[in-house]
């Protein structure tokens, strides 16, 4: 029985943390399907975390925090969209710039909020606004799969969202258009699809999702305000997960939970005697796994001749 509770706990942890990756990955899948890479996720997530918790505290409502984080990150992503789509500039450089900018201002404002804006009274509100697991009666008592019914609302929402994203991308007209814009923008353009508008929409929503992911991290996983980085490379793992999932939202679900599990495994592994001496190294397990998985996926993609959207990273101009 004890064993079962442990497995249950582990699964709940893996799914809860995996949701951080899932939300960000879904956004990046959308953007990359339209042909635009956004390397700024990590920075947008820092900003999302800051805006999310500050708004949630002042409005005493986590949902407004999520909304504000989404909107802020979406607005910042407009810069990236403008640079890559309208000005046709280097997407990698623009994304990296967004990353560094987001990292800097995200952390600066979080530190400022803690030191200046928020008094002890406001900080006391954090336990009130954070997300708690919602146990679905009866189902959550089931062994092992009970974990699936003991999550917070956002985790359920994100799982549903990945199905919605999959449906939109693969089963609707607009999804077909987004994909064709990412594969062959010239042909899509000739067919009367507005390449620029679709790419703008995909990049802006995708960036907003990164903000949402950051807000989720701080409101559901580590609800504290520090003037230090808290995303800690998760944004980059989310980008790797896009490749891992072959740009498919349903596979993203799998990858995100896998990495949620790898991250959570840290807390279990550090209790094991063999690993006592190397505890800090255990924190690098997800990153080392990401390199291995990326390599396997790349070999697989070469072999099966599948891979990134054809026009990924290439600006489109009507010439």
């Amino acid at each position: 029985m004890v064993e079962l509770t442990m497995i249950n706990q582990f699964l709940i942890g893996a799914l809860t943390v995996g949701t951080i990756y899932l939300i960000a990955t879904l956004g990046e899948v959308l953007a990359e399907r339209s042909g635009i890479v956004n390397l700024g996720l990590e920075g947008l997530m820092e900003v999302g975390a800051t805006v999310g918790i500050i708004v949630a505290i002042f409005m005493e409502n986590p949902w407004l925090g999520f909304l504000a984080a989404f909107i802020t990150a979406a607005i910042i992503s407009v810069i990236h969209a403008f640079a890559c789509i309208t000005l046709k500039l280097n997407q990698f450089a623009s994304g990296l710039a967004l990353y560094i900018f987001g990292l800097g201002i995200g952390i600066t404002f979080r530190g400022y909020a803690r030191d200046v804006m928020l008094g002890p009274k406001e900080l006391m509100k954090i336990p009130k606004i954070r997300l708690y697991p919602v146990k679905i009666p009866l189902l959550s008592d089931l062994p092992v799969i009970g974990a699936l019914f003991s999550l917070n609302v956002m985790a359920y929402f994100a799982a549903i969202l990945s199905v919605v994203f999959w449906f939109i991308l693969f089963k609707t007209r607009i999804g077909l258009n987004i994909r064709s814009v990412g594969e062959n923008p010239a042909a899509a353009d000739a067919a009367g699809i507005n390449v620029f508008r679709l790419r703008y929409i995909a990049v802006i929503i995708g960036g907003g999702m990164a903000g949402l992911s950051g807000a989720y991290l701080i409101l559901a996983h580590t609800p504290q305000i520090m003037g230090a980085p808290i995303i800690l490379g998760r944004g980059w793992i989310a980008i790797a997960l896009v490749i891992f999932s072959f740009w498919n939202p349903l596979r993203a679900l799998l990858g995100a939970y896998l990495f949620g599990g790898l991250e959570i495994a840290y807390f279990w592994l550090q209790g094991i005697e063999v690993f006592k001496g190397v505890i800090p190294l255990l924190k690098a397990v997800p990153h080392a796994s990401a390199i291995i998985l990326l390599t396997i996926m790349s070999i697989e993609a070469l072999r099966r001749r599948i891979g990134a959207p054809e026009a990924l990273g290439k600006p489109y101009s009507r010439e």
Partner: protein
């Protein structure tokens, strides 16, 4: 393409530049740095500080010799991490792993020092050259993995190098954390290190993350008669060599060809795998030398601080601002040194997070990327009839 400004007799016309004059990229770089600093004033306003006050403080900081010295200290490692990116970025290989290669260099350079404090001696004059070589080799090896994976199976080098950055930082945490093998409180250092500290009149602080310090004989000295560390001479020599490699050698030529078109380079008979391995070994090695400079010139020990400072990431922006010119890297690094040093002092004086410097750097980077538009296009105001 001309867009008429409504209600006037003028229109904005955008034209592709047929020839990009050499000074234009430099002008755009400088303009984006200035615009970034001015626009960054908005950040200060939002945190309730007058930008005028901040800029006058920065001007004062930049003018005082001690602060300038501090700025050079910060700039020194960035000079190496930015020069490290010149070759790979020129061939469109996005090595974002300068941070990790820097850290590996610092770790490797520390090895002889760890032996020294555990009682294993080398002739004293050998320490600096050995540490120098170890740092270069370790950084270079750390750079080979992403190069190999990319050339062999097209594994995305940006992601691999980033993951390696996290791994190397965790490596430092593990080595230096209390109870870790290189932590200063490790009993193997007991005899020699404690005696040394006693001589200095310092006590060991329990629970501190960090290795024992690098002894004086293994530190890079200041240039006699100045406040500047001799590491700057090393940076200048390397910049000159790198400039020569880029412009006058076959390697530099091949890098340019690949940068123009990877596929074209393969048709031209360039062995991409071999080239990328060489370039990344040099690149990682140079970033590793940054780590060597870090522990021998001013932070005389290894601790997670060296990674958290973000020298590797700053190198990316510096390299971009310097337009991948190694000599310009030196100057831009110095500018970043002033920026970072100012942020440190602002944190003390005005209680603003020192991460604001990172925000500034990002802002400058964004403007620089956007400014690239003006490198390729001319924007003219023309008079329209009617």
């Amino acid at each position: 393409m001309a867009i008429r400004i409504p209600g006037t007799k003028y229109a904005v016309k955008v034209e592709k530049r047929l020839v990009v004059r050499r000074e234009i990229p430099a002008i755009v770089s400088i303009a984006s740095a200035i615009a970034g600093i001015l626009l960054g004033g908005l950040i200060f306003i939002t945190v309730g500080v007058s930008p005028v006050d901040v800029y006058s403080r920065i001007a004062r900081i930049a003018a005082s010799p001690t602060a300038l010295m501090g700025a050079i200290e910060i700039a020194l490692p960035i000079m190496f991490t930015s020069m490290a990116l010149v070759l790979p970025f020129r061939m469109a290989f996005y090595n974002i792993g300068g941070e990790g290669q820097f850290e590996l260099g610092a770790i490797a350079a520390m090895i002889p020092i760890i032996f020294y404090w555990s009682g294993v001696d080398l002739p004293q004059f050998l320490y600096l050259p050995i540490m120098f070589m170890l740092a270069f080799i370790a950084g270079g090896l750390w750079g080979l993995l992403p190069a190999f994976l990319r050339a062999k199976w097209r594994v995305n080098e940006i992601l691999v190098t980033l993951m390696l950055n996290t791994i190397s930082l965790q490596l430092i945490w593990w080595l230096t954390t209390p109870g870790g093998p290189w932590n200063e409180a490790n009993p193997v250092f007991k005899e020699r290190y404690l005696a040394y500290l006693k001589e200095l009149g310092v006590h060991l602080i329990p629970g501190f993350k960090g290795t024992p310090v690098v002894p004086e004989f293994a530190r890079l000295p200041r240039i006699p008669g100045t406040l500047v560390n001799s590491g700057i001479l090393l940076a200048i020599i390397i910049a000159a060599i790198l400039y020569f490699v880029c412009t006058k050698t076959l390697l530099g030529y091949e890098v340019r060809v690949v940068g123009d078109s990877e596929r074209g380079a393969v048709y031209a008979g360039i062995n991409y795998l071999k080239l990328v391995l060489i370039v990344m070994f040099i690149s990682g090695g140079l970033a590793g030398l940054g780590g060597f400079i870090g522990i021998t010139a001013f932070l005389p020990k290894l601790s997670p601080e060296i990674g958290i400072a973000g020298y590797g990431y700053a190198g990316i922006i510096v390299a971009w601002l310097a337009r991948l010119n190694p000599i310009a890297c030196l100057l831009v690094s110095f500018f970043f040194g002033i920026l970072t040093k100012s942020a440190d002092l602002l944190q003390q004086e005005l209680k603003i997070s020192r991460f604001i410097a990172v925000g500034f750097e990002g802002l400058i980077f964004i403007l620089l990327v956007l400014g690239d538009f003006f490198v390729h296009y001319k924007v003219k105001l023309i008079k329209v009839k009617r």
